[in-house]
Amino acid sequence: MPRSPGTGLRFVLVSCVIAAAAPGPAGEVPWAFARPRPAPPPPVRDTAWVRTPVDRFVLAKLEAANLRPTPEPDRVTLLKRVTHDLTGLAPTPEESAAFLADPSPAAYEKVVDRLLQSPRFGERWAQHWLELVRYSESEGFKLDRERPDAWRYRDYVIRAFNDDLPFDRFLRQQLAGDELEPGNPAAVVATGFLRVHPEESNGADYRQIRQDILNDVTDTFGSVVLGLTVQCARCHNHKADPITQQDYYNLQAFFAPMYQRDDAVLLPPAEEAAYRAKLEAWQAATRPVREQLDRLLRPHREAMFAEVVDALDADTQKALRTPEPQRTAVQRQLAKLGGKQVTRRTDRAYRRLDGDQRKKYDDLVAKLAEFDRLKPAPVPTAMAVTDVGPDPPPTFRLAGGDVGRPKDPAVLRFPSAFGDPDPVVKPPADRPESTGRRAALAAWATGPANPLTGRVVVNRLWHHYFGRGIVATPSDFGEYGEAPTHPELLDWLAAELVREKWSLKAVHRLIVTSATYRQGSIPDRNPTVRAATKADPNNRVLWHMAVKRRDGESVRDVSLQVAGVLNLRAGGRSSRPELPAAVAESRYAWTPDADPAERNRRSVYTYHKRNLIPPLFKAFDAPSRNESCPARATTVTAEQSLAMLNSEFALDAARRTAGVILKGSGDRPAVVTAAYRRVYGRDPTRPELADGVAFLSEQSRTLGREKLTDATLPDPKPALPAADAAAVVDLVHALMNAAEFLYIE
């Protein structure tokens, strides 16, 4: 049921001064569908406060409301904030020392440049993007099978962000890399965007599953690229936004020819040709053996084929029973989807061979293995998509979204509210086997006339920095979404992005070097706190910086970092860390990597399984990757406190951190100071030092009465009495449990 206007989470105007842009009068094009009208940054009184043009937009609103910004916090806080936001990590003690000691007026900008150049930047921002596109390395549903090549898409995103690949090209590659840059392996991997959807590979009704996947891809495109809830128009015209049901299926028609390519070869043409030649040689040499194997297995395969296929929907049965060359486009798609379980079953046909036959089979397999020296080494492959062929399957408007009730045929037309001319769609010159539909869609989405794409992405950046976007609903710029708090700033940033040739790093830099971003986060430090709290209790006009909670991935990364064991190896096959005993028995659990260093890589490299998100991530609000997540909920729960207090992971991190601290010698004040520096990146205040020292001495006394096991002592074990050493573990563990570790100010 759609929300009625003016209820729910709609922005409540707190005063007429701080009103957000109101939707235009009835009949006008809604703001999001109108092209941005970038105006120059407005004049402000306090020009001294302004660091980048961003600040003029923010300050103008503050001044209009007679409010002041909050003064900048100390350098430690600022460094922690910008390091977290750009890399997801904590500053190292060396980085802190360098920044604190740098007298240059550009010291902060130097830090920003260093962080933007760091490989850790792409890793951090890729996590946000991967969540948005519901990236996972398993297919979901009951089987939740692994997708062995999915990680290449993750690496593609990280590299794109690190290399500052222009955002328009980044989108075009993901939507139509196969059509636009067929010779570029990165562009092939990029189409993984269209392939990361969940999929029930052992389903029964593939006509429905094909439709579910198309819906999912259409909806995700709408959310991620356009920031529109197009899915509302799947069953009926959108209740609020000017998107008709026909628009929805017209949009879907751009994706309808998609065909899964899970074995897209990622080699330069010459190498691929060499591989194919070698493969053919092996095939020729082994033909007799393989034919014998085939004769042996064929009856069983055929029986199994019938068993599986009979259970499927009629269309898919027909598709699978039609010889490949005679299949229509839809039949090829259905056969691809439904055929997976057929292959999975028939691959096990040998199990039905009895005594003699089985022996014969084993002998033939051994014989086949003798030719292995001829076999080419496996080539790198990606999960990608292409079109099914130049003749696309038809798309219809589905009454009530029901795949069984096709109505009007779809046409290749962009949603009518944009008022854009219909695209000229033809197969790309060097890809005659494709339709060119997705290339046309990609060109439109990133074209100069598109009012949304640029605004949507700059708003996403803003959202991650300020905990709330200029539009607070980052994937809903429609009528039911929130109105922008700073519409002029949104348009100006979107225009800047285009002016900077779609360089996201340029926009990142504009934001993080602004005085707006550098504000303090403690409301009471604001000189106009009383008036501000009254006029704008929810900080819509940004009179102070938001406080953010670390997500689970960052909690883990920083814990490993503080413990000195974070492995920064980038890219490649995913890491499989240990799982807590409670989930290690799950059918979805993985076997941890044998090499402990491999287990301690950054969380963005942790194997992502839809049905088993590690409890620490889950506790800290990791979303389901079954649908696009534009903004995480941020909750504060007992579950998180328990994880930090009692999990093996947290204790282990504390033990290792204590081990590092105790490598240097020192009395209790020195230990407390070292712990504060290591965990919080700063020195303790005098009362904090006193508290810490008192805790150490009392805890040592308590522990002196206990028999302590190695499992709760520092790692490595220091040359200290066990009780003293254990107390240091507890001190560090407590620091890592406390708010200062978990929050970014």
Binding site: L9, E698, T702
Partner: protein, 489 residues
């Protein structure tokens, strides 16, 4: 949409005098501390970093229902895999006559999970049925103990669902939708009503095996609702909640002192940042966590239950032990204010009797009969059945056609679920299937109506229980659904 929500404390504080914290002038209570820190108590509980103004403070605070509730809590026994209605609650004399014969042409051929089964011969029930109690409800000899509670049951014989496969069907029965990613009905209930309990989760999931039901934790997920509404799956053994016990080798005094120091750090952090709601929330969630270390082991500690009670549930018999433990635990959870308990029996599609129905169901019925009957008996004698809705059912029933000669395929087009207590109409059979039990005939009850009715009994109107997500005010059913008046007593 951004939700910034914190768990808060609602009831007893830990007495700070119990925790030794060095060198700190400790306020005597958190309330006092907050007063001294300049924040009103109402401001405490939540961390709305950037929450829109209309967001609620505390996600688990009790909320007023839409109407007077009949059930304060729900215990849902989920027979995972699809129990056969034809062999338990829905006797079909006509099917006995058609045993071994093909499906009569007068019946529409169904789409079945295993395809070929639509053409298989019909299989009569090998069970004997009798009428029980004053209500005269039919129950087969597989469920002799539950049969004794017949007058408490409201047997819905006309349930229908849409999913043919286990994942889709279990997801639909638990979240009302076949695709993963929607909130479970238990999550909706806790979202709507809050929790009546401050040291245990509001929605608890119990399983008899370590295997997940199909769909894994999606079937008790919070979907787009905030995290605190997610079902918490209790682990078997003395520590049911993950991380609710100190790590091995950490003594109680050591843990207490360490936690005291954590809170000292948090209080100093909060005091330095007046008005910072996150810091307050952190203190509150820490205290709740510390309390859970005591309450979680307590609720699974049956040492204070009498021998008679344990025997009643069948805790002393290996065959019934796992379900007995979970049923007794469910009662204890509900007594402590937990709102929604889902017990998976035969977790991992164990009821999925494509072959050897007799062997499969015989064993699983024996394992679940006594514990479920005992749960009804025990709730009733404690005066809790009136306010606790017990639900029995699977994701679908089974076909009258045979599979593998002696099994039955999935049947979502007509099957049985029963309700008891919590305002459900006792001693009733509602709706019917056709004469062979293939399709629902009279008064079909689709899953969305079942969910709407369960929420109705809990005092919630499923159309008013909304959550804004992606431009819609989402409701549990997505679209439609209505309360089945005939199930309400």
């Amino acid at each position: 949409m951004q939700n910034e929500i914190a768990q808060t404390e609602r009831a007893n504080m830990i007495s700070h005098s119990d925790i030794r914290v060095p060198h700190s002038a400790m306020p005597r209570s958190r309330r006092e501390f907050l007063a001294s820190a300049g924040a009103g108590f109402g401001a405490v509980a939540f961390a709305a970093l950037n929450a829109p103004a209309s967001d609620r403070d505390d996600p688990l605070a009790p909320k007023p229902p839409h109407h007077t509730p009949r059930a304060k809590a729900v215990i849902w026994c989920f027979l995972d895999g699809g129990p056969s209605h034809l062999d338990l609650f829905d006797p079909k004399p006509a099917l006995a006559k058609l045993d071994g014969k093909p499906l009569p042409a007068s019946f529409k051929k169904p789409v079945t999970a295993m395809g070929v089964t639509a053409n298989n011969a019909l299989l009569a029930s090998r069970r004997s049925f009798e009428q029980h109690g004053r209500s005269g409800l039919w129950v087969s000899d597989w469920y002799p103990e539950i049969a004794k509670r017949a007058d408490d049951l409201c047997v819905v014989r006309s349930c229908t669902a849409d999913g043919l496969t286990h994942v889709a069907a279990v997801l639909q029965m638990t979240t009302c939708h076949q695709l993963p990613g929607r909130p479970a009905v238990g999550a909706w209930a806790v979202y709507g009503l809050g929790s009546a309990c401050d040291n245990l989760p509001g929605f608890v999931v119990l399983t008899d095996t370590t295997t997940d039901p199909p769909g894994g934790n999606n079937v008790w997920g919070n979907g787009f609702l905030p995290n605190p509404y997610r079902g918490s799956r209790f682990a078997p053994g003395p520590v049911p909640i993950l991380n609710a016990t100190p790590p091995a080798g950490v003594s109680d005094p050591r843990q207490r002192a360490k936690f005291g120091y954590v809170q000292t750090l948090n209080r100093r952090y909060a005091a330095d940042r007046p008005g910072c709601r996150q810091a307050e929330a952190q203190i509150a969630s820490g205290e709740l966590a510390f309390r859970m270390q005591a309450s979680a082991p307590e609720v699974v500690d049956f040492s204070k239950e009498t021998a008679e009670t344990k025997a009643l549930y069948g805790l002393d018999t290996p065959a019934t032990e796992a379900n007995a433990r979970n049923c007794l635990l469910a009662r204890r959870l509900v007594e402590r204010g937990v709102r929604f308990v889902q017990i998976y029996m035969g977790a991992g599609s164990k009821w999925d009797a494509h072959a050897d129905l007799e062997g499969n169901h015989g064993k699983l019925c024996a394992a679940s009969d006594r514990p479920i009957a005992a749960l009804l008996t025990d709730l009733k004698r404690r005066g809790l059945l009136d306010s606790t809705l017990v639900v029995w059912g699977g994701e679908f029933g089974r076909t009258p056609m045979s599979e593998s000669g002696n099994g039955r395929d999935h049947n979502p087009t007509g099957f049985t679920t029963w309700l008891a207590g919590g305002g459900a109409k006792p001693g009733t059979a509602y709706g019917s299937t056709d004469e062979i039990g293939l399709y629902a005939a009279e008064n079909p009850v689709p899953v969305r109506d079942l969910h709407a009715t369960i929420l109705h009994l809990m005092g919630l109107d499923h159309e008013k229980l909304t959550f804004p997500h992606n431009g819609r005010d989402e409701i549990v059913t997505g679209v439609g659904g209505s309360v089945v008046a005939g199930l309400v007593g």
